[in-house]
């Protein structure tokens, strides 16, 4: 909201320094965002928080300043009228929507320019001057915060004002020259036949005051804040009036506003008041609130030592009614324009902000031992993070929302994920059901910018069936370890990512995993696997499909991705590790070189080894896979070592010959492998 320094000086002697006033207001909770010059005036732009509707006027700010500066506040003189006996014809049909309506008819006015001093005031706040009557209503709005509206009384059919809900489909052309289609949730000011104005929001073109207007009806009213807010949102119109009504106008100001405007209209435009009526439905009246607060209440809450005298002075300056109940205890009655004050803490805030928070003391809280376990999931993620960083993965953070198109591009079911009702743009329409699309978008950006060696991880959530689930994603492409001593440049492949995944799990103490060849829709067949723990799938990894990458316009083909549930990691219980004695006896290593059929996996071989090895085998160490042409077609070569060791003695070669031979024979029989 804008305020003018010159205008402000009408009500409080606040000095000439806009900067100083700006600082004082800011430090009392009325943040001044900008100070500018207008002719010989200074204009301050304030951010008024939604609890302070009373500050949406010049006098409201002046009152605040009077408390902050401890100066007198001179409120404008309001002329009292003896109204004629003749009553305006006003009917409030919607008693909850309209709490009070004052309609005054002034006849024989002369529409002209408003006097210079009013025009100057309005212009300083950026308001356009229209004519004397409209300018007066705007002036009063800015001065007192009470919205007013003037109708051309001759355009009011039957001379009758009806405050009612609109009929569905009823139309009105508002002052901004837009035709609005109304419905039964919207409150209107109507005459016998048609809506004249959208209540509290904007008047209609048909009944506006023009140069031809002779007689006017001045409206000062109270409309329900919730109703105005809903209508304003529904129609997408916010006006100076609606902004104030939805923040609740002061019900005692309805009359004052009318009186102030009438006096100014009579002065500026002449005329005679011929009809008057105030209709109250009572729905707006709030119970008078009394709050008991002692000096000790205030000081113990703030940790301060504010004197009783100062407390009283501040509250008085803010127009609070106070009476001393007993020694250093006050009964406080907040004024009608402060509906936000309902309890002790509200009073404490008033006192503290007027004094200024910076003047209040500091202390360090005594923090007791808290009986809440630190979040275990976070701790587990931190351990996971360590293992990933050590392996050279960098963390990315991507948006949790995506769009169906990106899901489809990634071959992920577009209807998975959770739909958002009110996205601002299409790329926010759904909460992601996989981290893949957002990862690919990061990969695309990086590759386009010439970053080709990418190793990423993200802790994120995926959203399905109205649940959120924590997952971890890994991405890998480009050269792995750069070593200038070797000529070969190694490009990341499946086993690089699998190695990282295995490292990760083993660093966390998870060992009972099974990797099984299987593919997600976005993985190449034969280049990917699922990860199982106790037969439950806990993740998958593999080479991204060529056509997925093509859809993302990613030219790099060797892109590997993994996504793993964090639930498994969250479930890890930290048991105390027991020391395993280190075996002092030497081990015997026997190499095995086999030609195996394509469909025989190393896991199959290991299974047979473990079934037949007895107690002397301590490890199976894989050494080489041979895929060249020096082997029969349909076969590949596998080389591995079996390591035998005893905890009790040095093994003799002869001892293991039998076991070893048995293992090899079993492999030959069961898996039809050929010894090389």
């Amino acid at each position: 909201m804008k305020i003018s320094l010159n205008w402000l000086k009408d009500y409080v002697s606040c000095g000439n320094s806009a900067e100083k006033i700006g600082h004082k207001l800011t430090m009392a909770g009325l943040e001044v965002e900008k100070i500018s010059s207008y002719l010989n005036d200074k204009i301050l732009e304030l951010e008024i928080t939604p609890n302070r509707a009373d500050c949406l006027s010049m006098t409201g700010i002046a009152r605040e300043l009077s408390a902050i500066l401890d100066k007198n506040f001179d409120s404008p003189k309001i002329r009292k009228f003896n109204f004629p006996v003749k009553r305006s014809d006003i009917k409030i049909q919607d008693k909850t929507g309209c709490g009070c309506y004052i309609g005054t008819v002034i006849e024989d006015i002369k529409i002209d320019e408003a006097p210079l001093w009013i025009r100057k005031r309005l212009e300083s706040l950026g308001l356009k001057s229209i004519n004397n009557v409209v300018d007066v209503t705007n002036f009063c709005l800015m001065e007192l915060g009470q919205p007013l509206h003037a109708f051309d009384y001759d355009k009011v059919a039957g001379g009758k004002i009806v405050v009612r809900k609109a009929k569905d489909g009823e139309k009105i052309v508002t002052l901004d020259n837009i035709e609005r289609v109304l419905d039964s949730s919207i409150l209107v000011i109507a005459d016998d036949q048609k809506p004249l104005a959208i209540a509290g929001i904007m008047g209609g073109v048909d009944s506006q005051v023009t140069a031809q207007t002779k007689n006017v009806l001045l409206e000062s009213a109270y409309f329900d804040p919730v109703l105005i807010r809903r209508t304003s949102r529904k129609l997408g119109i916010t006006t100076d009036s609606s902004y104030r009504f939805e923040r609740r106008v002061d019900y005692e100001r309805i009359s004052i506003g009318a009186h102030r405007a009438l006096a100014l209209i009579l002065t500026c435009a002449g005329g005679v008041i011929t009809k008057y009526r105030k209709v109250s439905t009572g729905s707006y009246k709030k119970k008078k609130i009394k709050v008991m607060v002692s000096k000790n209440d205030i000081n113990s809450y703030l940790g301060a030592e504010i004197s009783f005298a100062q407390i009283k002075k501040i509250l008085k300056r803010l127009d609070f009614g106070i009476s001393v109940e007993n020694k250093e205890t006050l009964k406080v009655s907040p004024p009608s324009f402060r509906p936000d004050i309902v309890s002790k803490v509200d009073i404490i805030e008033e006192v503290s902000r007027v004094i200024g928070y910076d003047k209040l003391p500091l202390s360090l809280p005594k923090i007791q031992r808290v009986n809440i376990e630190p979040n275990k999931q976070r701790q587990r993620r931190k351990e996971t993070e360590k293992a990933l960083l050590a392996q050279g993965f960098s963390e990315i953070i991507t948006f949790s929302m995506t769009d169906q198109n990106k899901l489809e591009m990634s071959e992920i079911n577009a209807t998975s994920g959770i739909k958002i009702k009110n996205p601002l743009s299409l790329d926010q329409e759904v909460m992601r059901s996989s981290l893949l699309p957002s990862t690919l978008s990061v990969v695309q950006t990086n590759l386009n910018r010439g970053e080709k060696k990418l190793k990423f991880y993200e802790f994120g959530k995926i959203y399905t069936e109205n649940k959120e689930q924590d997952v971890l994603s890994l991405f890998l492409c480009g050269e792995t370890l750069f070593d200038w001593r070797s000529k070969d440049r190694k490009i990341a492949e499946f086993y690089d990512l699998k190695g990282s995944v295995e490292n990760l799990y083993s660093s966390l103490g998870i060992t009972n995993l099974v990797f099984q060849a299987k593919e997600e829709p976005f993985f190449e067949k034969g280049q990917s696997c699922f990860i199982y723990q106790n037969k439950t799938k806990i993740g998958s990894l593999g080479l991204l499909k060529e056509n997925v990458l093509a859809k993302w316009n990613i030219k790099e083909r060797q892109c590997y991705f993994a996504q793993m549930d964090l639930e498994v990691i969250y479930r890890i219980e930290k048991n105390i590790k027991k020391f395993q004695p280190i075996i002092g006896y030497p081990s015997i290593v026997r190499d095995v070189s086999l030609a195996v059929k394509q469909d025989v996996s190393f896991q199959d071989i290991k299974n047979i080894i473990y079934e037949n090895c007895g107690s002397l085998l301590s490890d199976v160490r894989f050494t080489e896979e041979y895929l060249g042409d020096k082997i029969e077609f349909g076969y590949r070569g596998l080389v591995f070592s079996l390591i035998y060791q005893s905890e009790e003695r040095t093994l003799k070669e002869e001892e293991i010959n039998d076991v070893h031979e048995k293992i090899v024979q079993e492999l030959i029989q069961k898996l039809a492998v050929i010894r090389r």
Binding site: G29, P50, R229, S352, V370, E395, I397, T398, N422, N466
Partner: protein, 334 residues
């Protein structure tokens, strides 16, 4: 032949010293220490020395042999050192290692802030992103259809709240619902920080994003005061931003705290510009009422800060979108 041992030694040492390579040195070695060499000759001569001179001559001869032997060894070593120089490494060539990964600046900032509070006795907690209106708004004294909701534009899900008819689930627009969850489950004393992602339908520009991170702090006990709030956050800011800052507490309005404040900082040696870094206040009694605490039994302080904003201020990142672009060259800087 009479021997001038001093002269002989002097000459030998000079010859050895001047030897140009190992071959020449070998010639001198044979000349002096060989089977028919000078030293041998001297020792043969010892028999002819008069009895009374024998001890002294013997001593001198021994010393001569030792010195020549030592000189040859030293010289030989220096030739070996020289040939070894060829094998020296260029230690300025780069080493070879797996490069370490980098934690995202946002995570680093969250970790740093959380651990500062952890050392004071706060416990880190987390809450869900999909929330109810009750937790995101009503419990925090933000009624429906109230202008105080203006500050909290919110994404709603199409799904309905299973606990409340005709209300949709939503994405939390701040981490404050975490306060409600903690207080519903635990009785004071409470000291928790709750980091997490939050969502608001804001148009994206250099300083706005529809997803960002917040950290919520909550301290509740029998006698928490406003001065504690000031002290705690002043201490935090000085640890986090360093001593080179000015700070101020500016009254503000949050429905769930009273009194409420915003905290601004400015750099002592920078522009005289105040930068807002967080919101805070004393927990509103309505919030305690909502979670079922006995009226008047507790007081508390709460604060909430935007992680992106703080990271931008501290590290000079000028566009919030940088965080979500995840350019490798950005990630590697931190």
């Amino acid at each position: 032949m009479d021997w001038n041992l001093e002269e002989t030694e002097k000459k030998a040492l000079i010859e050895i010293k001047n030897a140009v390579d190992e071959k020449e040195l070998e010639v001198f070695r044979i000349k002096y220490l060989g089977r028919k060499g000078v030293v041998q000759e001297i020792f043969s001569y010892l028999g002819k020395v008069p009895k009374e001179d024998k001890p002294l001559f013997g001593q001198k001869a021994n010393s001569l042999r030792n010195n020549i032997t030592k000189a040859i060894e030293t010289k030989k070593q220096s030739f070996i050192e020289k040939t070894k120089d060829f094998l020296n490494l260029d230690v300025t060539l780069p080493g070879v290692a797996v490069s370490l990964g980098h934690k995202h600046l946002i995570t680093q900032t969250i970790d740093e802030i959380c651990s500062l509070f952890e050392t004071l006795g706060f416990v880190i907690q987390e809450g869900p992103e999909i929330e109810t209106e009750a937790h995101n708004f009503e419990g925090l004294n933000i009624p429906e259809d109230h202008p105080s909701r203006d500050g909290f534009d919110t994404f709603y899900l199409e799904a309905e709240d299973p606990y409340e008819k005709n209300k949709n689930l939503l994405l939390r627009s701040h981490t404050s619902p975490g306060q409600i969850r903690i207080m519903k489950e635990h009785k004071p004393p409470l000291a928790v920080v709750i980091p997490g992602r939050v969502y608001r339908p804001d148009a994206v520009d250099a300083s706005h994003s529809f997803m960002f991170h917040q950290i919520e702090g909550l301290l509740v006990d029998k006698d928490i005061k406003f001065s504690d709030l000031k002290g705690l956050l002043t201490d935090f800011c000085q640890k986090f931003f360093g001593k080179n800052i000015n700070m101020r507490f500016r009254p503000h309005y949050f429905p769930f705290t009273e009194p409420s404040a915003e905290v601004d900082i400015s750099w002592k040696d920078g522009k005289k510009e105040w930068l807002e870094i967080m919101g805070c206040g004393m927990v509103h009694p309505k919030v305690f009422e909502f979670v079922g605490y006995k009226k008047g039994a507790y007081t508390g302080l709460a604060f909430g800060l935007g992680v992106e904003r703080i990271a931008m201020l501290k590290h000079g990142v000028s566009d919030i979108r940088t965080f979500y672009e995840n350019d490798n060259r950005f990630l590697k800087q931190f």
